[in-house]
C-alpha cells in the first residue's frame, strides 16, 4: 500500500514533467525569441516548481529544501527571462512576422525615445 502523500507527490511530479516536456517542445517549435521565452519561462518554471514540491510531498524530510528551491526558481527565472526579453528587444531582435501586437513599442513611444517606461 502506497502512502497517500507519495501518490500526491507522484502526481505533482508527473504534472511537472508534462510541463517541462511541453516547454522543451516550445523552445524548439516556436518561431522567435519572445515566443520561445514564453515556453522557457512559464512552462519551465511551473514544471520545475511542481517537481520540487512533488519531491517534498513524497519525501517530507526534503520539504524545506524543496520549498527553498521552489522559491528561488520563482525568484530568478522570471527576472532573468524579463532581462533577456528586454535586452533582445532593445538590441533590435525583430518580432516574428505573424506577431499581432507590440505593446512595448507603444510604451517606449509614450515615454519618449530611448526613455525607460517603468
Amino acid at each position: 500500500m502506497i502512502a497517500i502523500n507519495e501518490i500526491i507527490g507522484m502526481v505533482l511530479m508527473a504534472i511537472g514533467l508534462l510541463f517541462q516536456v511541453l516547454g522543451a517542445f516550445g523552445l524548439i517549435r516556436l518561431p522567435d525569441v519572445y515566443n520561445r521565452l514564453q515556453a522557457a519561462t512559464k512552462s519551465i518554471t511551473l514544471g520545475a516548481i511542481s517537481i520540487a514540491i512533488g519531491v517534498g510531498v513524497a519525501e517530507p524530510t526534503l520539504l524545506p529544501k524543496a520549498l527553498i528551491v521552489a522559491f528561488f526558481l520563482l525568484l530568478t527565472n522570471p527576472i532573468i527571462s524579463h532581462g533577456i526579453a528586454r535586452a533582445a528587444y532593445r538590441s533590435g531582435v525583430p518580432l516574428w512576422k505573424g506577431s499581432v501586437i507590440d505593446q512595448y513599442e507603444k510604451a517606449l513611444e509614450r515615454s519618449g525615445k530611448g526613455g525607460d517606461p517603468q
Binding site: L75, T76, I79, G83, R86, D116, Q118
Partner: protein, 241 residues
Amino acid sequence: MMERSTIQRSLPALAISILIAGTLFLAFVEIGFGENKVDSEDAVANRYIANGTTETGSSNLVTSVVVNYRGFDTLGEVTVLFLAATGVGAMINLLPEDGKKRSKGPKPSLIMTQGGMLAIPVIALFGTYVFLHGHLSPGGGFQGGVIIATAFLLYLIAKPDAKTSHRTLSLSESLAGLSFIGIGLIGLAVSGIFLDNVIEGFGVLGELVSGGLLPLIYIAIGIKVGSEMSGLVEKMRGDAS
C-alpha cells in the same frame, strides 16, 4: 594538369595521415578500453576507495583525490586557469579603443535591479558554502568560485555603472594563490613532501572542521577562482566611458 597536382599534393598528406594514425594506434592499443581495470589488485582506484577517508580525513573521495593525492596537478590547473584569464584580459586590452568602450545602453529595469539585489547575497553565500564544504559534499573550490563570480556578473547586469575595484580583485586573487603555495610549503617544511596534508587527523571525519589542510586549500582555490572569474567578467564589461 590540375588533377595531377592535386594528386601529387594529396599523396604526402595521405602518407602522413596513415603514419600518424598508425602511431596513435600503436600507442593506444595497449590500453585495453572496456576492460575491467578496477577489479585488479594493484589498481590505484581501489587504493583511493579503501584508504581515501582514513589517509586524508576527507569524507568526499573526489576531494581527497583532487586536493590531496593529486594536489600538485590541482596547482597546475589553477595555473592554467590563471593563464587563460590573463590571456583573455590581454586580448581585451589589445582591442582598438572604440572596441573597448562600453556602449551606453538603456538602464536596467527596476525588476532587474531589485530582483538582482535580492538574489546576489544568497548566490554569494551559496558559493561560499560550496567551497567551505568541499571536503564533505559535492563541489569545492572551483565550483564555489564560479558561483561567486556569477553573483558578481549578476551585480554588473543589475547595476552596469557600478564602480568596481580591479585592484582589490587582483589583490585577493594573488593572496589566495600565494596561500595555496604557502600551504604546500608547510608540507615541504614539516614532512618534506610538497602539499603534504600534515594535520590530516585533525577534526572528526564528516564534520565541518576536518580533513586537515584540505578545507584551507579549497578556501584558497575558491577565493582565487572567484576573484579571477569576477576580474574576467569585469574586463569584459569594458571601460566606463
